[in-house]
Structure formats: structure tokens, C-alpha cells
Symmetry: C2
Subunit: 429 residues, 2 copies
């Protein structure tokens, strides 16, 4: 082949895009050696080419015209704009025109999984998205290759640094959610509009990608149960700690009851579990395979350079394949596993209830739980508010079905003896 270089077009020059452009500049020689050919940046699509930037690019490289970028002579399109529109369009157009695509866009990849994979297959190119989950932590490639000999049993992950930072502060300092969020915003760990993170949506997109790969079936973000961290109270962390647990926002997907159940919600984790020790903005993904047992991948889940590490690993893979004329790998046949609803989940639960401080209250609550087939493992009466004549009960249940638990909680919430259901948090065993 007469090819003398690998041409790259970059869509987006923000935090991650800037990191990638810098890596391409600073490590040009090392990358050329690894790929077998120089990697040449042909065009960079930005909103405003005149905006001052920390990185200096060759004149005329930047353009605000999508057509100019997408129609450039490129082998690999690197999409780092984020968001669904117009990124989806650009990725699809690139694949259809026979370009390999590298993207960090968890929203687009998870929502349009089948469509984009099919576009790539039809065009005989590959879509790479290592950076879409866990920043620089290798996890997509290990699932595709290194753990390929396993049937995956389950995935448990902490894949949102913003919420993990907030939960770590709440656990360590006893501060409330609002205070911890403000700290995170001041440090740049949370965005001005943090909804996507704190409501769990970001984790849902990432879990959708991990689960779809691991179980070889499309688990749509819509199929994933989602609960954010905004309802957690400082004392839940205190009580959890007393019981030997840490509260984390977990993303869990397991082969269960003939399908795959995927869910994102706060959970109590025994404090000696590996994941319980993943603090601050760190991310970690634990994968359980039938052969390998449990392996854990941990590292920085975000950041300009860490994410650029994953993007550039994908670019180098794509470049090697282009150079060697390697045929693209055929996609595995779908396992046909379907998404299971949360309603049939069997879990233990931590329940905090504010009740009237008078005799017989516990009996009423215990009866409701019992009627729904939920048995109590322990009850502790916490602080009593003498003035309000209320007390706080912390109940740990044995394994119970989610739908039974929710019905019982609804009934308990309506009891005259109960002032408030404080928290209902699943326990992850």
C-alpha cells in the first residue's frame, strides 16, 4: 500500500480534545513508531476558531464548518464533542463514509448502540469507545479481549467521579448532600448543572455500554433502573458506618433469572469490600467471570490526560488496523439475553423510618413487612426527638423482593404511627 500517513480529524477541542491534540503533538514520534506510520492531524472542528486556547495548532487546522471537517481526507474521526446532537449525526456519517471512529461519547454510544454498530459493520470499519467509560481505565478492551474466554456473571462499578467524590465527603465529614455538592463544584469536580451526574444518568449510560459488551446483548439506558444520590442524608452514612457499611452509587449488571438486570442506585457495601475503598473521584469496575473470578480495574475516571490516554489507545489500535489492512472483527452473535426489571430483584434493604415514639409502633411496621414477605434482620432505635415525640428506626431486612419491599414501604408510609420514610437503600452483598 502506498499509504504514508494516518490522517486524523478531531471533532471538539475541549478538555479531552485538547489533551488528545497535545498528546498527538508531543508524542508524535513515539506514536508514529507504534502505529508504523505518522499520525497527522488534518482538521479540528471547533465552535469558534478565533477563541484563545492553551494549545497552539497549525494555521488553518481549526474550522467551525462541520462539512469541512467531516469531508477532510481522514482515516480516523475522533469525536470528543459530547452530547447527543450533533455528535450522533457526525459519528454515523463518518462510519458510513468508511472512516474508523474513536469516541468518548457515552450518551451516543449507549443510546444508539445497535444503529452505530450496524453502520460500522456495513462499512467494514470499527467504532472504538474505550474512553466512554472510566476515563483512562482500560475496561472496554479487557471486556472485549482479555476476559473473552469467560461467561460474564456480573459487573459492579463506581463509574461517576462526581458522585463518588460527594459520597466520600459525606461519609468522611458527616456533611449534608448540598454542602458536599457545593464543595465538589468549587473544586471543579461537579458541573454548574450537575443533574446528569447526581441523578445517576451518566452512570446509566456507562453501565449500558459495559453490560451490552459483557453480556453480548443490547441493554438500553432505558432498561436500566436509576436512582440518584440526592435523597441521601448525612445520618444514613453515620448509621451505615455503625453497621459496618459504606454508601456508594453503584452501577450493577448481573446475569439473573434468565436475563440481565442492570441498575444504578446508592447501595450499602460492606466496608471491607474492594469497591467500598474506592474514594474521591476515582472510578473502579469489578468484573466477575466464570473462569477468572473477580477482577478489579481502578483509576482516574476523568480528566484531560487520563481520558486522552484511552482515546489515543483507540486511535493507535485503529491506526494499526488501517496500516496492516487487517479485516474488521466480525461481531459476536447476540446472546439474546433480555433486560430484567428491577421489580423482581432480591436484595437486603436498609430502611430509616421516623415514627411516633410510643409503644406498639414497631409491631405495626413489622406486621406490614411480614405481610409482604419481608423479614427483619435487625432494628435499632436511633435518636429520639422528645419535643416532637418522634423516634428514628433503622431496620435491616433479610433478602426480599423489590416489588414486595416497595409495596410494604408504601403501606408503612401511610401508617398514622409513621411520620416519614427517611431512606430505603439496597444492600449490595
Amino acid at each position: 500500500m502506498g499509504r504514508t500517513e494516518i490522517n486524523i480529524v478531531l471533532l471538539g477541542l475541549g478538555v479531552v480534545g485538547g489533551g488528545v491534540a497535545r498528546a498527538l503533538q508531543e508524542k508524535a514520534e513515539a506514536y508514529a513508531e507504534q502505529a508504523g506510520l505518522p499520525l497527522v492531524l488534518r482538521r479540528v472542528l471547533v465552535r469558534d476558531p478565533s477563541k484563545p486556547r492553551p494549545i497552539s495548532l497549525d494555521d488553518g487546522l481549526m474550522t467551525a464548518d462541520p462539512d469541512e471537517a467531516l469531508d477532510a481526507d481522514a482515516d480516523i474521526i475522533v469525536e470528543l464533542m459530547g452530547g447527543e446532537t450533533p455528535a450522533l449525526d457526525y459519528i454515523e456519517r463518518s462510519l458510513k463514509s468508511g472512516r474508523h471512529v474513536v469516541t468518548a461519547n457515552k450518551e451516543v454510544v449507549s443510546k444508539h448502540w445497535l444503529r452505530l454498530h450496524s453502520a460500522a459493520r456495513d462499512a467494514g470499519v470499527e467504532m472504538h469507545y474505550e474512553a466512554s467509560v472510566g476515563g483512562g481505565i482500560p475496561i472496554i478492551s479487557p471486556l472485549k479481549r482479555d476476559l473473552a474466554a469467560n461467561e460474564i456473571i456480573g459487573i459492579r462499578a463506581i463509574i461517576n467521579g462526581t458522585t463518588n467524590y460527594i459520597l466520600t465527603r459525606m461519609a468522611a465529614e458527616g456533611v449534608d448532600f448540598g454542602d458536599a455538592l457545593r464543595q465538589a463544584q468549587e473544586l471543579g469536580y461537579a458541573e454548574a448543572d450537575p443533574a446528569n451526574d447526581i441523578e445517576g444518568q451518566d452512570s446509566v449510560y456507562k453501565l449500558s455500554i459495559l453490560a451490552s459488551l459483557a453480556f453480548r446483548t443490547f441493554i438500553s439506558p432505558d432498561d436500566i433502573y436509576r436512582e440518584g444520590i440526592t435523597q441521601l442524608h448525612a445520618r444514613d452514612f453515620k448509621y451505615a458506618a455503625e453497621l459496618g457499611y459504606i454508601i456508594k452509587l453503584l452501577a450493577v449488571a448481573k446475569r439473573e433469572q434468565g436475563g440481565v438486570r442492570a441498575r444504578v442506585h446508592p447501595a450499602l457495601l460492606a466496608k471491607d469490600e474492594l469497591l467500598a475503598r474506592v474514594d474521591g473521584v476515582l472510578n473502579a469496575v469489578q468484573v466477575e467471570g466464570d473462569l477468572v473470578g473477580k477482577v478489579l480495574f481502578q483509576g482516574p475516571g476523568a480528566g484531560s490526560e487520563a481520558t486522552a490516554s484511552a482515546v489515543m489507545a483507540d486511535v493507535l489500535e485503529a491506526a494499526k488496523a488501517i496500516r496492516s489492512g487487517e479485516p474488521t472483527t466480525p461481531q459476536d452473535r447476540s446472546s439474546g439475553l433480555a433486560a430484567e426489571p428491577i421489580s423482581k430483584l432480591v436484595s437486603r434493604y436498609y430502611v430509616r423510618i421516623e415514627v411516633m415514639d410510643r409503644p406498639g409502633v414497631l409491631a405495626v411496621i413489622a406486621r406490614s413487612l411480614g405481610d409482604h414477605g419481608v423479614s427483619i434482620a435487625s432494628v435499632i432505635q436511633k435518636e429520639t426527638d422528645e419535643e416532637g415525640q418522634t423516634a428514628e428506626l433503622v431496620i435491616m431486612t433479610h433478602g426480599a423482593r423489590e416489588d414486595s419491599m416497595q409495596s410494604s414501604i408504601k403501606q408503612i408510609g401511610g401508617l398514622p404511627e409513621v411520620s416519614e420514610i427517611g431512606s430505603v437503600i439496597r444492600v449490595e452483598d
Copy 2:
């Protein structure tokens, strides 16, 4: 291509070989789908084909004749015999005859790195050895691919389960080395002859492989400083804990002073470090890259099925390459980095010394350290043996050079005021 299957020959049917043979049987359909062609076991080389085994293989598959196995119609040779002889010969012969090789043999791969890589390159095939380090934990492939965009700064690893189990028991229960070793042997975590593990040689082989890959230069096992765990005493764990440290057998390789310094020795690790929390037979490898920062890979470092997971991942990779006719990847040019000796290491040290319990002793010791440029960060006087009129000093130093430290320790050991140098352990910051 008219190829209808991928033919495999297995050398060795022990713990790992048995796991691989079982996986090939039980997952035949899944593997055929992934590889694009059925994987067919053609021959299994064993010492005694008549020996009863937990796995039942087709008649005539087993042979004790190496030629019969090595000359069989095979695309991939899987070497799981262990040991240097005759495994080296079999691997080399297989590569030279154009077969892809998958091996878990850390000793052969590390000692004969250049020779085997060159044989593979000349024959246009690949040698895969994911299972040689960390059992089922993906680490070779992440270093080759997922972290390829980084310049690796350092590796710190716990890669011997036997010693980690022993050290975990010593730390948790205050038992002596001998007792912990016996426990490990009873549980099957240590061999009857444990020398290779407890003297650190097993970790040296594995670190040689990790460092050679990470720094793209051959770091021979002979270039790696080695110190085992047999000299550690129960009270070192107690004193270390009081100072906020855990003792682990670490394998460390870092880009330092223009080269690569690699070493295996017990080290004090601050107890909140991720690696300090890796307990029992678990293995973990932490890699620091200039882009990604620190990522950690953790999981079971041994065992039949976990190791089979890594072996089979390699087999599937090789099978895909064979099926697609993919050209082998050109080897990266060597970085030319040379191995640095331990003598110029700069480290903090923990020193336990038994001294005469009389005034002025500390002054003499401090003078020797000072004369050698070693400054003391803290001194604690521990138990005093009134009968023997001796006391125990635990000294933590500031950063000092290894050769200066060793000279000073030698001098201190010869002082009339000193009865014994108890321990000298490096502190890993």
C-alpha cells in the same frame, strides 16, 4: 482460505493445563463463535498418559512423546508445563516451525525474552504470555495496547500470592514467618519447597516481563535486585503498624536516573495506599503512565480456572489472527533504557536494631548514619530486655542512598554497643 478449524496442541495437563482443556471442552461452542472457527485439541503432551485424571479426553489425544505433540498438525501450541527445561526448547521449536505459542511460563519468557521474541518475529508468528503474570488479571495486554499511548513512569506490584498470603497472616495475627508458611502450605497456597516464592525469585521473573514490556527494553531477571521475606519478624509488622505502615513484598520498576531500576523486596507501604489493602492470595499491579496517572489491576493471581481465563484469551487472540490472516504486529524499537543498580536507589528506611541498654548508644548510631549522609526522621525505643540489658531501637530515616545506607548498617552492625541488626526494610513512598 480453506481453513475449517484451528488446531491446538497442549503441552502439560496439570492444574492450569487441566483448566484449559476443560474450558475448551465446556465452552467449545462459544469459543468457536468468537474465533470464527472451531478450536480443536489435537494432542496433549503429558508425562504419563495412563495416570487417572479429573478430566476425560478423547482416546489417543494424550501422548508422552514430545515429537508426536510438537509435530502434530497444530496452529497454536499452548505450553503449560512450567520450568525452564524442556519448555524453552519446545516453545522455541514451535515458534520456529511457524506456530503461534501461548505460554504461562514466566521463567522461560523472562530469561529468554530476546531470543524468543526474535524467533517469533523471524517466523512471522506471535508469542502470547498473558498468564505468565498475575494469573487471570489482564495486565500484559493492557500494557501492550490499552496504555500504549503513555510513557510508563513506574510499576508497583504484588505478584506472588504465596508471599502475600504469608505476610497478610503475619500482619493480622502477629505470627512468625515459619508459622505463617506452615499455614500457607497446609492450605495449598505454598509448595512443599517454597524457595522460589519466599525468596522472591517468582516475583523477579514476573517483574522482568512487566518491566521489559512497559519500558520497551529487556530487563533481565539478573538485573533485578531481589530480597525475599524470610528475614521478616513478627514484631516488624507490629512496629510498622504503629507507624502507619503495612509490610508487603513489592515488585517495583521505575524509570529513574536515565534507566530502569527494578527490584523485589519487602517494603513498608503507608496503610492507606491501594496496594497496602491487597490481602491474602490476591495479586495487584499498579501502573503509572504520564497520561493516565495511576491505574490498578487486581484479582486472583493463580488458580486453575483464573489462569485458564488468561491462557484462553491469548488462544482466542491467536485464533482470530490466524483466521483473518492478520499480519503480526511489528515489534517496537527498543527504548534502549538500561537497568540501573540498586546501589543508587534513594529510599527511606525502617531499621530495627538491638542495642546495649546504656546511655550514649543512640549517639554512636546516629553518628554513623550521619557520617554516611543518612538523616534520622524518628527513633522509638521499643521493648527492653532487662536481663540481657538490651533494648530495641526502631529508626525511620529520611531519603538516603542505598549504598550509603548499607555501608552505615555494616558499620553499625560492628559496633560493640550493638548486639544485632534486626531488620532493614525500605519504605515505598
